[in-house]
């Protein structure tokens, strides 16, 4: 003769309802802990994602091949497009300076470019590749030009502007350049190659060899130089302290649960005096704590996502998944630990428990 399972669960739920303040306090503490953990994950994950995007847009995986005095094969450079690990490749060569009748005396750099370089220099838009001129934003502003208008050079034929590039991240000096897309045949000054992040180091090392057959002494340099102060987002993410925070959070919450159970040890003693077993006490504790912990996780996680989205940027699905796994692990461990608080506190003499008020 002992408790029915349904009666034990009802008893736990009745204890939960009977002390609204205690339940709310537990809910708030758990929600703050789970939400805090999720927020840390979201915050750092989003910050690193933003950093990686900026880093990449800033040309972190761009290498430049050149030959002293020029003479790099444009065809070889363009042929890199479509190869595994390469995002884009293109070459350019300077063709001197140009002036316009609308801005007499103001010099602009003009250059021939192969089509691929526009993908490397301006990652945000697909610039049309045709016979038209692609100009930098500063030049467009100074001359009042925009896509579709005709640019008239002082000493050559008028040309239609086919695009205004935004080169500020990859090649800021090209802001005042007039770029004429040409066939890759012939020799160019530089070949710019953007690699996938994982292919960058190996690709950069072998890039010189790709031009060795057609060009003498090709040199390769990174667009952005890295040093010991350069951030490594992958290792930062791998060594983030909150990665194991779920253990600390659930441990802390269990400690809080133990303190709460300590103040209720006379109740535990009463149940034990009536023949309730400690395992049944744990089951009752599960019925009492699980709804609170589950609700707290939903509340805390939702709040963390909302806070991140409102204050900063929307997290990606990948970051959301990490935050859910980390805070969810804390919740699951708390679910497993919480029921045992009462049973742990109720170890020892029942008579002593009954005296503790």
């Amino acid at each position: 003769m002992t408790w029915r399972l349904a009666a034990l669960i009802e008893e736990g739920l009745a204890n939960l309802r009977a002390s609204a303040f205690r339940s709310m306090l537990l809910l708030v503490v758990c929600a703050a802990a789970f939400g805090g953990l999720a927020y840390l994950e979201l915050r750092q994950g989003t910050e690193l994602t933003d950093f990686v995007r900026d880093y990449r847009e800033g040309g972190a995986y761009v290498a430049i091949a050149s030959v002293p005095g020029g003479g790099l094969s444009g065809g070889r450079c363009e042929s890199l497009n479509g190869e595994p690990g390469i995002v884009g490749a293109g070459a350019w060569r300077g063709t001197g300076q140009a002036t316009f009748p609308t801005a007499p005396g103001v010099l602009f750099q003009s250059a021939d470019v192969t089509p691929g370089i526009l993908r490397v220099w301006d990652t945000r838009q697909a610039l049309g590749i045709g016979t038209g001129l692609v100009i930098g934003p500063a030049m467009a502003e100074e001359l009042g030009l925009r896509t579709g208008l005709i640019a008239t050079f002082v000493s050559s034929e008028p040309v239609r502007v086919s695009g205004v590039g935004d080169f500020v991240r990859r090649n800021p000096q090209a802001a005042r350049w007039a770029l004429s897309p040409v066939s890759p045949a012939g020799e160019f000054d530089e070949c710019w190659v953007e690699f996938e992040p994982g292919a960058y180091e190996a690709g950069r090392e072998t890039l010189a060899a790709r031009f060795a057959e057609s060009s003498a002494d090709p040199a390769v340099r990174p667009y952005r130089r890295s040093d010991e102060f350069t951030r490594d987002p992958a290792s930062e993410w791998a060594s983030r302290p909150q990665k194991w925070g779920w253990i600390a959070v659930s441990g802390g919450l269990f400690g809080f649960g133990l303190v709460a159970a300590w103040f209720r040890r006379a109740e535990a003693g009463l149940y034990l005096a009536m023949g309730t077993r400690r395992a049944q006490l744990a089951l009752m504790g599960a019925a009492e704590s699980w709804p609170v912990v589950a609700a707290a996780w939903c509340l805390g996680f939702s709040y963390a996502v909302a806070a991140q989205s409102l204050r900063f940027t929307d997290p990606t699905l990948e970051i959301l998944r990490h935050a859910a796994v980390t805070s969810g692990s804390a919740a699951l461990l708390a679910l497993a630990l919480f029921p045992w608080g009462g049973a742990l506190v109720a170890r020892g003499s029942i008579a002593t428990l009954l005296k503790d008020r």
């Binding site: 009666a7 009802e10 008893e11 009745a14 204890n15 009977a18 109740e267 003499s349």
Partner: protein, 220 residues
Amino acid sequence: MPLTLRGVSHRYSPVMPWVVRGIDMEIADGELVALMGPSGSGKTTLLSILGLLTHPAEGAVLLDGEPVRKRTAAERRTTEFAWVFQTANALLRRTALENASLQLLARGAARQTAHAVAADELERVGVGHLAQRPARLLSGGELQRVCIARALAAAPRWILADEPTGQLDHATTLEVSAALITGRPIGTGVIIATHDQEVAHRCGRVIRLVDGAVVVGGGA
């Protein structure tokens, strides 16, 4: 004899003095027993050994001639005993009715049945009108009656009461002890630790303890 102590001695740790020493005692079904003695004489410890809350350091507790093991003590507590404590131990945030149903639920009764029986017992001890009131809002006497209703509702073989009137005034003492002693189910024994002579006089047998040893009334 149904409830027997054989050579029972107990102390709470090896470095502490014996609280009860060498006690042999037999208690029959339905018997009314008063445990008396000065404070610190071991009444509460003896009562908790009788009620299987404390396993004695030495000696044995026998139920129907069978020694009670630690492993089976919880089940025997559920089926054989009910408690009324001096401090009226109850779930203070739960209603009087829920408190009175508790022992029945622990015995495997369905909640509806337990509530029906408990409601009757609350009526019998005079607090039926307080059934839905949270226990924390009851007076000491009312709460003690709820605890008595909890014990009576379970109709155990023995009710163990540890100074149940110790914190009550004289008039309430009489009412509470009457509810416990005269209101008990047929066949239920009551073992009551008390300082109150009037309560003791209502019992069929008085066991006196001094310094942890029985000086009067240990046998049946």
